[in-house]
Symmetry: C2
DNA sequence: CTGTTAGCGCCTTCAT
DNA sequence: ATGAAGGCGCTAACAG
């Protein structure tokens, strides 16, 4: 009862100053480790700061520094998809590792459309609620890029590159990784391969598809690409379509782990054995790939590192440096049980549904 | 070139006031829809506000209102687990639906331990970075509850109840739901059932376990509970242990969808057919449950609604009202392909590994 | 009904 | 080396 107001009272710099018998300015100098105050006084002040458990008030600091002390991330995919895409949470975890060090907050908002996303950027920046943002799911001719530039809101794109003088980005060329995957399948003897892609408007989807078609044609493989909107239902449909062909592919590369797991379920359901009848490769590796049976061969990227790199770049951009793009480490193929030799699959025609 | 500073200049209330030929105070009154200014002037002011695209500066508003305009959520589970637990993203999406309406931000932080979590609360509150927080994964004798009360940081627990005069919470009694699940299995003829539980320190785990043992004993079923730490490896071990018994259970209820999917993989791997040899029930339904083969019978809750209810309660708490706990709708069992009659399973002994 | 004023808590000039 | 003063943008309590 006696201390009931303990949690309520705020310690301010004035309190410190009063207690130390100096001015507010002196305290400020001492706190920021700048000259203008004697060593002894500084020590005394810092001791009192500790004793009184003083912490700077973010709002006050933000106001005087004209910095929000926060970065933003807007996600424009349906929540139930996001919930299942480990990519985003891992990205967030990587971003945080950079931010929390500098005690910058991460503000997240989920929206439904790109238009809403842009509206959020406008509001955030108008209110100076964030100092910069991380942007994901870059599209070809993405309207967000121009808008962000117009606003002057510091931003970094996760997964570029953004053409011309767009925005800085953290990315790596995925074409060689696609080539690795296709060559791996070719080595296993597959001659009919397919790709279940994500949304074609996304730059990363388009890049991977182009590379896929290039490499397969170079190797003389029969190739097919089916686009989806990343929704599991859509992925299931794509898989069903592919496996219903008179001569179905013997290997399918999916554009996310979620799509791959969906494909695995559909294959099972249609009576295809994995990997004997059909090999499956996931893009982006998460725990989920290892949980299902058989465990999925996947392209593994260190996504938290990806998020951390992008965040580092963002912080530099906010600070006014304008470093070039950051190239992140490329993904590597992690073979697991879902891929196998094509011989079994080709020996006989596919099972009927 | 001419407009190059467009994105940089900030419009303030002073600008509006100058332009309208009134004082800042008048503008403030007009903006906040409060009396003290004539209707005509108000209109004129609002028009200028629109014309100049004015938005309030959060930092300034926060400073003068002594409100951060943000709520916090700290998650203390490993990122790679969080990434796969749809629960959290869905919870966030529900929370946001409430927050964004009032244009309150959601600040998220991932940490490793409860101690770190508490440290974040202290810092956030000391800095007035948030106005309140949503707390998850309540434990028995949870140290966070006392600390939050001591700090005076407004908080709501998602999934209570918190005993005594702890903190307000949004929750529902899960015992009846557990009973439903067990009765459902009993009706299918199962007599040996097991539960792969989460962390026993979590209140919801303890509640479900107690209910599970109660109901099974009441129905005369052989029951066993194995605890895990929610990690897939740990869940896999538990499943392996159960299925290696001389008389293995014919049905297992898992404490999350992630654990259930893991269990399904292990069962497949050990040569158990699902649901013929072993029935599987997941707790918390997400897309993932429908993707695997066979699709998992699961306890379905409207988690976004849960998050929204908790957030509503939090906002009320912040505003100084102290409403009682909110009781959220209970989960319902959604039967799918992973549960079946026990007859097949009991007819013969379990397959060997 | 209007306009002026004084803070919110911090930082950064300036004089001293 | 120190202290006093002013401003960041907004709100609220005053006078006019």
């Amino acid at each position: 009862m006696a201390n009931s107001s303990e949690g309520t009272h705020r310690v301010t710099i004035s309190d410190i100053a009063k207690r130390a018998g100096v001015s507010k300015g002196a305290v400020s100098l001492a706190l920021n480790d700048r000259p203008g105050v004697s060593d002894e006084t500084r020590k005394r002040i810092l001791a009192i700061v500790k004793e009184l458990h003083w912490s700077p008030n973010r709002a006050a600091r933000a106001l005087s520094a004209a910095k929000a002390g926060a970065c933003g991330l807007v996600l424009a995919r349906p929540a139930r998809i996001l919930a299942l895409e480990p990519f985003f949470v891992e990205l967030i975890s990587g971003a945080e590792s950079e931010l929390s060090e500098r005690s910058i907050a991460l503000t997240i908002q989920l929206v439904h459309t790109v238009e809403e996303e842009i509206a959020v950027y406008r509001r955030w920046w108008a209110e100076r609620r964030v100092d910069g943002i991380l942007m994901v799911d870059l599209r070809t001719n993405d309207p967000r890029v121009e808008e962000l530039r117009r606003l002057g809101l510091p931003a970094v794109v996760v997964g570029g590159p953004v053409r011309d003088d767009g925005l800085p980005s953290a990315w790596h060329d995925e074409a060689p990784v696609v080539a690795d995957v296709v060559r791996y399948l070719a080595t296993l003897g597959h001659t009919r391969v397919a790709r279940v892609a994500g949304l074609g408007e996304f730059v990363h989807t388009a890049t991977r598809t182009a590379a896929f078609l290039d490499v397969t044609s170079e190797l003389g493989l029969a190739a097919e690409v089916v686009e989806t909107d990343f929704e599991p239902e859509s992925g299931a449909r794509a898989t069903r379509k592919l496996l219903s062909r008179p001569e179905p592919p013997t290997a399918i590369v999916y554009d996310s782990d979620l799509l791959a797991v969906t494909g695995l379920g559909v294959a099972h359901q249609m009576g295809f054995a994995v990997p004997d009848d059909i090999s499956i490769v996931a893009w982006d590796d998460s725990l989920m790939c290892g949980l299902v049976h058989p465990p999925l061969t996947a392209v593994t990227r260190d996504i938290p590192a990806y998020g951390a790199a992008a965040t580092k770049l963002l912080l530099a951009t906010i600070d006014g440096h304008s470093p070039g793009d950051i190239v992140t480490p490329r993904g590597v193929l992690t073979p697991r049980g879902s891929t196998g030799s094509a011989r079994a699959a080709q020996r006989e025609s596919a099972p009927t549904n």
